[in-house]
């Protein structure tokens, strides 16, 4: 069944129904603003609360208590007057706050007085030799299957990478009876030392106890190899083995499935296509939008909340969603803002939720050799461009990712740079001795998700154009 938006204009349109979007839409609707929440998935929850309303996993401990927090957020939203449309793919947003959204194969245009982007995070590319082989997938994709369908790996499985989500996924797979043969930890040894100054905040944050118990749980059941300095997947048309170097020793193990993960980065495509200014974050090694304390971006009327505003995790996302929605309420219906929690209260909650983040960011800052590939390793999967191809183009004059398009079509395929953008920026920065900020990023354009020509052909035309056609 196709549900088109009920109106053409809304006070607030929230894009993305993860923790930030759920909280933002509920807050905005509770304050009496006409609110539309658009989400791409079949149900609310985003990645962290994926399938929160439909998961076949009913044993609460298996997905962990943090997962079920999502159910409360969904309940609050449903109790509000917010209009919610699932399977709604926003494919364009511009600085006039005009939104194009595809729902059930038909596109609609709507206008908002305020837009709150809660488009979350993407997994960071992990461009090692062989990462494009069938049998190699991201940990996030594995987690999607686990949450939506209770599917876990049963072949020879290796998990490689680092970061809190890696351990969470491992624990979830094991609790559901899945198989993990080995975990290869790519955390750089030096990072432990670098993170030390931030350890106190971390030790007193909720991350610490949870993280520690999860790692203990996993390590009791799976062999964990730490301190990887090299990692490669190999196989003839299909993953057959994983080889790595740890402590100076090379080892190769047979594998049917390799799950890769080295953290998440803001999903910037829609925000960048809307013209929002981003800057390179040298700690999180990604592009983050330039925002004020309420999440307002450089484009008037567009705020960003959740991991899309810079990685902060689910708890911080919920608070950032409320802060952004409160700012919208203050702007559009100041009288109603009094009913909402005070800004100072929200900011204090955010500080609490973000406690320990600096430690995690420093500890799990991915090592250069796993971010910046060399030789024949594929960088751009859509156009099959290798690291060497990129460096060759730099040698004859390509100065940045947009100029590189003239040589190699990188970023011009259907993924719009989601799988190669960070790699290209860092690779070119390294080759040219510049900072990623100086090198820049692809100019992103709508549609940020492809739509069919037939769907575009079917949308209502502007009057001027209809007349132009009639006149011939």
């Amino acid at each position: 069944m196709t549900v088109a938006p009920r109106r053409e204009d809304y006070d607030v349109v929230v894009i993305g129904a993860g923790p930030a979007g759920l909280a933002a839409a509920a807050t905005s609707a509770e304050a009496g603003l006409s609110t539309l929440l658009l989400d791409e998935n079949i149900g609310p929850g985003g990645q962290v609360f994926r399938a929160i309303s439909s998961t076949p996993v009913t044993e609460r401990d298996q997905l962990g208590a943090d997962y079920w927090v999502g159910a409360d957020l969904v309940q609050t939203l449903r109790a509000s007057n917010a209009e919610v449309i699932q399977r709604a793919t926003v494919w364009s947003l511009d600085r006039n706050l005009e939104i194009a959204v595809s729902i059930g194969g038909a596109s609609a245009f709507i206008k908002a007085k305020r837009v709150i982007l809660a488009t979350g995070a993407l997994e960071r590319p992990f461009p090692i030799p062989g990462w494009t082989l069938p049998g190699v997938m991201t940990a996030g994709a594995a987690q999607t299957m686990l949450k939506s369908s209770a599917m876990v790996p049963d072949g020879r499985t290796v998990i490689a990478g680092q970061g809190p989500l890696l351990w969470l996924l491992a624990a979830q797979i094991l609790r559901l009876g899945g198989r993990i043969d080995r975990i290869l930890d790519t955390t750089e040894r030096g990072n432990y030392f670098a993170a030390l100054p931030h350890a106190f905040a971390f030790l007193t944050s909720p991350y610490f106890a949870k993280g520690l118990s999860m790692m203990r749980e996993v390590k009791a059941k799976v062999q964990v190899v730490s301190g990887l300095t090299e990692l490669a997947a190999a196989g003839d048309g299909q993953l057959a083995s994983v080889s790595y170097v740890a402590g100076g020793k090379r080892e190769t193990i047979p594998a049917d499935l390799l799950l890769l993960h080295q953290g998440v980065v803001p999903n910037v495509n829609l925000a960048m296509a809307a013209g929002i200014e981003h800057r390179w974050d040298d700690l999180q090694l990604c592009w983050s939008p330039v925002l004020d304390a309420s999440g307002n971006s450089s484009v008037a009327g567009i705020a960003i909340a959740g991991d899309g505003a810079g990685i902060g995790g689910a708890n911080a996302a919920v608070v950032r969603g409320r802060i952004a929605a409160r700012a919208a309420v203050e702007a559009l219906a100041p009288a109603s803002a009094a009913k909402l929690p005070a800004t100072a209260t929200l900011r204090a909650e955010l500080a609490k939720a973000e406690r320990g983040r600096l430690f995690l960011d420093t500890l799990f800052r991915p090592a250069p050799q796993f971010r910046i590939p060399s030789d024949d390793t594929i960088v751009c999967r859509c156009e099959e461009v290798t690291a060497k191809d990129v460096l060759d183009s730099v040698a004859i004059g390509a100065t940045g990712p947009n100029q590189l398009k003239a040589y190699r079509r990188t970023g011009m395929g259907p993924c719009q740079g989601r799988l190669c953008g960070l790699t290209v920026t860092e690779l070119m920065a390294q080759a040219r001795g510049k900072t990623p900020q100086e090198i820049g990023y692809y100019r992103l354009r709508a549609p940020v998700k492809p739509i069919t020509l037939a769907e575009l052909a079917a949308v209502p035309k502007s009057e001027a154009d209809v007349k132009a056609v009639v006149r011939g």
Partner: protein, 373 residues
């Protein structure tokens, strides 16, 4: 202290890069100044049409001159620019439109131009098998084709630099002034001085001309384009419509570029454009009707490049009517890409020899200032 060069070219589009290259080939040492990077705007992001077809008569000689260069483009810039020549076809969708085509071809023939050729329904179907069967014919220019615009502009820039041009990118030319017989221009902390200044600044050129006392009726526009995912090969020539705003081109990799001149809103100061999806939907509908094979293709990306459009749709090309040593090369009005290689060659001739064999006299800026002489 200004650095002395032979010429200052402002604007790193295909025109500025081509002129800089041809000045080098004539033995001059130019500086090329581009506020962003070469090919950042219209020159790098246009449809890449290499088209003599359907041009305004005053610019046809320049277009023909340019075509000869395109056909040997590798020899000039050491890069094939992905130029391919399968012709460009203008499709008439009904008998009335075909009658207009017939008159046009007869008019060109009377003037001695033979590159446009009237075709009937059968020849149209042979050239463009996928086109709707109701179309009665059209016009073809068989030597026409298409190239990759970013690759081409980049190649001209690279070859110009290799041939001796000084290139400054990322800094705007400012404080343009004429003193003691020389043009002086600041570029960040540097200054350049030269007897010759070429204004090839695209959408920014109108302001330069106006500041130098030669205002012209020009506006900034941003024609939109969109590209599809890969579809099986079904068409070779570039197709444009007589009656509706549509141009259409399938690349070797299977992607299809859809254009035709619907406009986005330009925000020139921010280097930004905001697309008008309702107009793009009109283009999509036209393609949907004429090429059923395209209906399930997906639109991967849409964009618009910022450029200058003259009120009379004809470029401003040639010497200033007020200042010695000043030359204009802008206002190509959505059809300047194909002219780039030839325009650079002719501009170098005008600068070095004071004249050219290619008829460009109808393109001069003096058409807007009849009383200044």
């Amino acid at each position: 202290m200004s650095k002395n060069v032979d010429a200052i070219v402002i604007g790193g589009g295909i025109h500025g890069c081509s002129t800089a290259l041809h000045l080098c080939l004539a033995g001059l040492k130019p500086v090329l100044i581009e506020k962003d990077y070469a090919g950042r705007h219209a020159s790098g992001v246009n449809a890449g049409g290499v088209r003599q077809l359907a041009r305004h008569i005053p610019e046809i000689p320049l277009s023909i001159r340019s075509m000869a260069i395109w056909e040997k483009i590798s020899e000039l810039v050491d890069d094939d620019c992905s130029f391919e020549s399968y012709g460009q076809v203008l499709v008439a969708e009904n008998e009335d439109e075909l009658a207009v085509c017939r008159t046009r071809v007869a008019e060109l023939n009377a003037l001695g131009f033979t590159h446009e050729e009237l075709i009937d329904a059968a020849e149209l179907r042979r050239l463009v098998p996928a086109v709707a069967e109701t179309c009665p014919g059209g016009v073809i220019s068989r030597r026409d084709g298409a190239a990759n615009p970013a690759q081409t502009t980049t190649a001209f820039r690279r070859k110009a630099e290799q041939s001796g041009a000084t290139v400054r990118e990322g800094v705007a030319a400012t404080n343009i002034r004429h003193r003691d017989g020389l043009w002086h221009v600041d570029v960040g902390s540097e200054s350049f001085a030269a007897p010759v200044l070429v204004n090839a600044a695209g959408a920014w050129a109108g302001k330069i001309a106006a500041d130098l006392g030669e205002p012209v009726p020009v506006e900034t526009v941003a024609p939109m384009l969109m590209i599809t995912s890969r579809v099986p090969h079904f068409i070779d020539p570039v197709v444009i419509l007589r009656g509706r705003k549509l141009s259409f081109k399938q690349f070797k990799n299977g992607t299809v570029l859809i254009g035709g001149g619907h406009l986005a809103t330009p925000y020139q100061d921010r280097n930004e454009t905001v697309l008008d999806w309702k107009s793009l939907a009109t283009s999509a509908q036209t393609v949907f009707e004429l090429f059923p094979v395209m209906r399930s293709a997906t639109i991967v990306r849409a964009w618009a490049g910022i450029e200058a459009k003259m009120k009379d749709d004809i470029p401003v090309f040639g010497p200033s009517s007020r200042h010695k040593g000043l030359y204009h090369q802008f206002g190509f009005s959505l059809h300047g890409f194909q002219l780039g290689p030839g325009a650079g060659a002719v501009m170098a001739e005008l600068i070095v020899s004071g004249g050219t064999q290619t008829r460009v006299s109808d393109l001069g800026i003096d058409r807007f200032h009849p009383s200044t002489h």
